[in-house]
Symmetry: C2
Subunit: 669 residues, 2 copies
């Protein structure tokens, strides 16, 4: 393997946290932590043990060879130089595309290997092994993973990914603190360090902010210049150009996204949402979607029927879940929000208003928590194909909640007063409050948490070691990282991470500025500024304040794309209504109930017309499954041979024995 360069200084990427023990036991061999460390060494890790104030940290690094072995064992698919994904094999290492920083495995793949490896520490003997921990005895059963056992016993407190200090500092300089490049970011390096999903988020944020310059400038002009008699024409022109801008932006974002995927040698299809088409899924599909594929052969028509039943049951269940979510939002949340908005209008005293808002804020915290839990419970009954699909499903459901929460008040004010000036005031209030409040909260809260944790740790230490002299400092970086908060979503921690909050912020902002564009054109300038700030603060948050997040492989922005598209649609409708008010100040254009009903019906139908094609895919599940099965077979057959020719290792294929599979049975169909 002459082409494989040596790994640079060992980088520890995972830490396992166990409590620090005071006493030195004589029979160290059976101390469970010692056994664990030995097991880690056996598995192929490079291990370093660090003692913190209260805990011991086992830092793990995997040499390239260990990773390669696991990747081959996991049958990991990797992109080769000819563009197709093939099973990784250590011998054919030259055939595979490398990351932009020259490493063979991406952070996401490495993390997958680590996760597999640390659970590979199984008891290979035939009998239980008795381990000790501070006098407590632990039975390690045969075939059981030691880490899992220790996690269950509460001895292994946490396993978390570590920052790579050199890369982190480099990124900090070139990205988070590089204020001069306003919207350009080192996307490739972000991808290498944080994984694809986060890199895609920042690419989106950067492009969104760049594109925002046009409507921001237009909005500013509208605000500053007095158009005189042309005023009545300017607002419709703004409306039209804003909608066109948004449509163009998202179309070009999709193109940019697929270009990014190509640059990172990813397959656009893996982990996409429903919105994107599954292009090129022939060879590159990750796995057949369901177990149904496996019982192949015998009865073709029965198999097809099974598939169809499965598919349609899935749709039905999904439909039911969506109905539950929508109904509960309309029946429970809507009255509550309206009540708050109404009370806020009715109450005169400022103190009362303040108290009301406080109560409201408290209640909606609970509301969203309950909503999130309910959604997760519902999602578990859906048959989504992967966790990324599940996460998308969660995003759709929870966004409904936030949508109501954020906009219903504004709608209420708009409808009640029918006055553009009041609406504008409400919007300014909300936006500034929201942006400032959110940005502050988002960044200061984790830091405060971190500081408090550190402070408490030091105090505890002091208490315990009374008489120790002077200041106690954190000697180890790994303990500091352990104190840092994780990058987690506010709504739930199961399916989403902090990206949920970041995207939610973007989407709510987008909805606010788009839906009331005609009422408050300056909003675009506001949000352009806030986005520029957001980019840097998010970068700082990820690099400095938080632990390194767990990487996710999804190559698109997933469900959020559809949510943005939905907001564009909504904005077309609301802006039309705003324009009617704007020009109908005498209230003469009465919309009779009949006409209004017909208009509503028409819009609902248009929505159904365009929404339906999203709901039911064009290709039946059984057709897709069949295609995938075929592709997998083909792949399995010539995988090895292809690899050899690509890497150009040897020219004669004498050693190759073809896998004999049962294609004969298929010939008759």
């Amino acid at each position: 393997m002459n082409g494989v360069e040596e790994e640079d200084p060992i980088v520890y990427e995972i830490a396992v946290v166990v409590p620090r023990r005071n006493l030195k036991l004589e029979n160290e061999g059976y101390d469970c932590v010692e056994v664990l460390v030995n097991e880690f060494r056996n598995v192929g890790f490079v291990v370093e043990r660090v003692f913190g104030l209260h805990d011991e940290f086992i830092k793990l690094a995997a040499p390239l060879e260990t990773l390669g072995r696991v990747a081959a064992g996991l049958n990991m698919k990797k992109t080769t130089h000819i563009g197709v994904d093939l099973q990784f094999e250590w011998e054919e290492i030259e055939a595979f595309v490398r990351q932009s920083d020259g490493s063979l495995f991406s952070w996401c793949e490495r993390f997958q290997c680590y996760r597999h490896l640390i659970h590979e520490t199984v008891n290979k003997k035939n009998s239980d092994i008795t381990l000790k921990f501070d006098g407590k005895e632990i039975q390690w059963e045969p075939g059981e993973s030691l880490l899992q056992r220790l996690e269950l016993e509460g001895i292994v407190k946490q396993v978390f990914p570590l920052h790579d200090e050199t890369k982190r500092k480099k990124l900090l300089r070139s990205w988070a603190l590089n204020w001069w490049d306003v919207t350009t970011q080192p996307i490739d390096e972000i991808n290498v360090y944080f994984g694809t999903k986060i890199a895609v988020y920042f690419a989106f944020l950067g492009m969104y902010t760049r594109w925002m310059i046009f409507p921001a400038a237009f909005g500013l002009i509208l605000q500053l210049v007095d158009f005189g008699s042309l005023k009545l024409l300017v607002f419709p022109a703004f409306f039209i150009s804003i909608v066109l801008w948004a449509v163009l932006f998202f179309q070009f974002w999709k193109r940019k996204n697929s270009a990014l995927s190509a640059r990172w040698h990813l397959n656009f299809s893996s982990g996409t949402s429903h919105g994107y088409k599954l292009s090129g899924s022939e060879w590159n599909c990750l796995q057949p979607p369901m177990e149904l594929v496996k019982d192949s052969g015998i009865d073709k028509t029965k198999e097809k029927e099974d598939f169809q039943r499965y598919e349609w049951f899935g749709y039905l269940r999904r439909c039911r879940n969506d109905a539950i979510v929508i109904l509960s939002i309309i029946c429970l949340q809507l009255p509550f929000e309206l009540a708050y908005a109404h009370l806020y209008e009715v109450i005169k005293s400022d103190i009362m208003k303040f108290g009301l808002t406080a109560v409201y804020l408290l209640v909606i915290q609970y509301f969203t928590k309950i909503g999130g839990k309910l959604s997760i419970r519902l999602i578990k009954h859906e048959n989504n194909e992967s966790t990324e699909y599940q996460a998308d499903s969660l995003v759709y459901k929870v966004f409904g909640l936030y949508f109501m929460q954020s906009y219903i008040g504004v709608f209420y004010h708009a409808l009640l007063h029918r006055n553009l000036m009041t609406l504008r005031q409400v919007l300014i209030q909300r936006m500034i409050l929201y942006e400032v409040f959110e940005n502050l909260l988002e960044n200061s809260l984790p830091y405060l948490k971190y500081s408090y944790k550190k402070f408490r740790a030091v105090r505890n230490k002091k208490k315990r070691e009374k008489g120790s002299t002077g200041k106690i400092q954190f000697a180890t970086r790994v303990e500091k990282e352990y104190m840092k908060p994780t990058y987690s979503a506010s709504i739930c921690e199961e399916l989403e991470d902090g990206l949920f909050d970041d995207f939610l912020e973007l989407a709510l902002q987008f909805g606010m500025i788009m839906m009331f564009a005609c009422a408050f054109p300056l909003a675009f300038a506001f949000s352009a500024l806030s986005n520029i700030a957001e980019m840097r603060t998010d970068a700082l948050k990820l690099l400095v304040i938080l632990r390194r997040p767990v990487p996710r492989a999804a190559a698109t922005i997933g469900a959020w794309l559809n949510i943005f598209q939905f907001l564009i649609l909504m904005s077309i409708c609301t802006n039309s209504a705003l324009l009617v008010w704007l020009y109908d100040q005498e209230g003469k254009w009465k919309i009779e109930p009949g006409l209004a009903a017909i208009l509503v019906m028409e819009h609902v139908l248009l929505l159904i017309k365009f929404g339906f094609s999203r709901f039911v895919p064009e290709e039946p599940a059984w057709v897709r499954a069949k295609r995938m099965k075929n592709a997998t077979q083909a792949q399995a057959m010539c995988s090895k041979q292809l690899l050899r020719s690509i890497s150009g290792g040897d020219k004669a294929f004498g050693g190759y024995t073809p896998r004999k599979t049962s294609y004969g049975t298929n010939k008759t169909d």
Copy 2:
């Protein structure tokens, strides 16, 4: 090759028409027809010569082995048992999927081979060969195809596909004359006999007619039952259910279409329109779209830029062409149609009306001819990837013309009178006239043409051979077929065949019944009946009246799907307008100009929002081209090896030498 069964009795599938010569020349060896026949025999055809009244027919049949040799020479891709398309090779014949009738090549593939073979009759010597024809001398240059030479000289009059008498009679019994199965058709057999595109048309027609039963029944109920006070609720309910019906129908049609493709072992992507997603195009893509792919390697960024320039120039050119078409329709056709509609309203005398209509019908004949020619000229300047794309582009352009022609009059009447009863009358008139007239014309005209041709041929023969006794009969089937008209489009013969007219009829009917559904619910019942008749008459037309059409491989209904979707959108708008009229009989709900303008703007924006994603694809052309290039490389590399393992012919791959390609250059990117 033990598995290859013997071909049944020889089936002649292509006929070449040359004039019949009176005199028997002594040096037959140099008579060009004799040489041609010899060449055909050399190439591998089984040849039969038939002498008709005026012409001589050279009937050609190709044995399986000849076809296989050509298919391998053409590098034809065929689906294998494992689902991927691979280059055909005669030795690995067992690996390839067979048609539903057991033959190896589909009619479409056979036709391609025939077309290649009959042009393979080249002069292999180094000098010109002088051929004779009725005393005239013809120079056959080296390397020139004899057939082409003779076609240029006017000696080969025509080359056309022949009906397969046994299969034709079988289909006639099981399909065209099988009146009891109202909507079920032997789609698989149609596919085998006529090729995919025609089979897809009939599958669509059958499904459309079956689904039509629901709205037809609903419409009948609406017509027959008096709902009394509920009347005002019934029409909106009808409107909503019709739109839902249409949306569901087209979604399920797409699913059915992809299921059909799977059944026929076709790749959904080959020859699709823009509307369908290019699923599974990784391995199965036909060819890289442009020459740009070829100059690979050296300069990656320059290549990408070239691609982008090419892509955007293509869009611009297309945009310009569409603008030309739309403008000329609005500026030229619209005034003309309105003038006709207005004159028709103004003129009182019935005779004058009749005359006017006659003139009008004559003029629009020219109009559509000119429109078709213009469209074709425009399309030639677009860079469409295949002829099927070109045909789709033509369909879009020409449909605009027909749309105006068919509906503008109805719109005019509707707007002028604002009276549902008058509108209904106009609709009944148009529909019945249209259906009856069209169906009659479509089927009787070709038959009349055929009869006249036959009659003239017999008369000519009689004239020439004065004194010959009694009746002259057509002894040969092939001469009868030669007399039959071809299955050609009325608009132009270059890119489309008769399917254009058939789809056009369906689309115009669909538009008529959908757009005015609220005004005339009974229309659905009418068109359901007319479709049932249409199915049989089209079958008869193809089997009895016309020559066997040239097969087309496209596996979807192409551009028509988008046209149908557009008509659904239109129908949502028009029906809304109709409902407003229906309930606003006192004319009280005034829509002020401002409100109307805003409504119009909103709808236009909604259209843009949904239309744009169709216009610019989500994946940049260079990404797609790169993926395709990679796939092609992969395919070329393991094609042979895959084939052997599939067919299970041999187990050792000693004889295989891998193609050394320059993957080393790609490694650095």
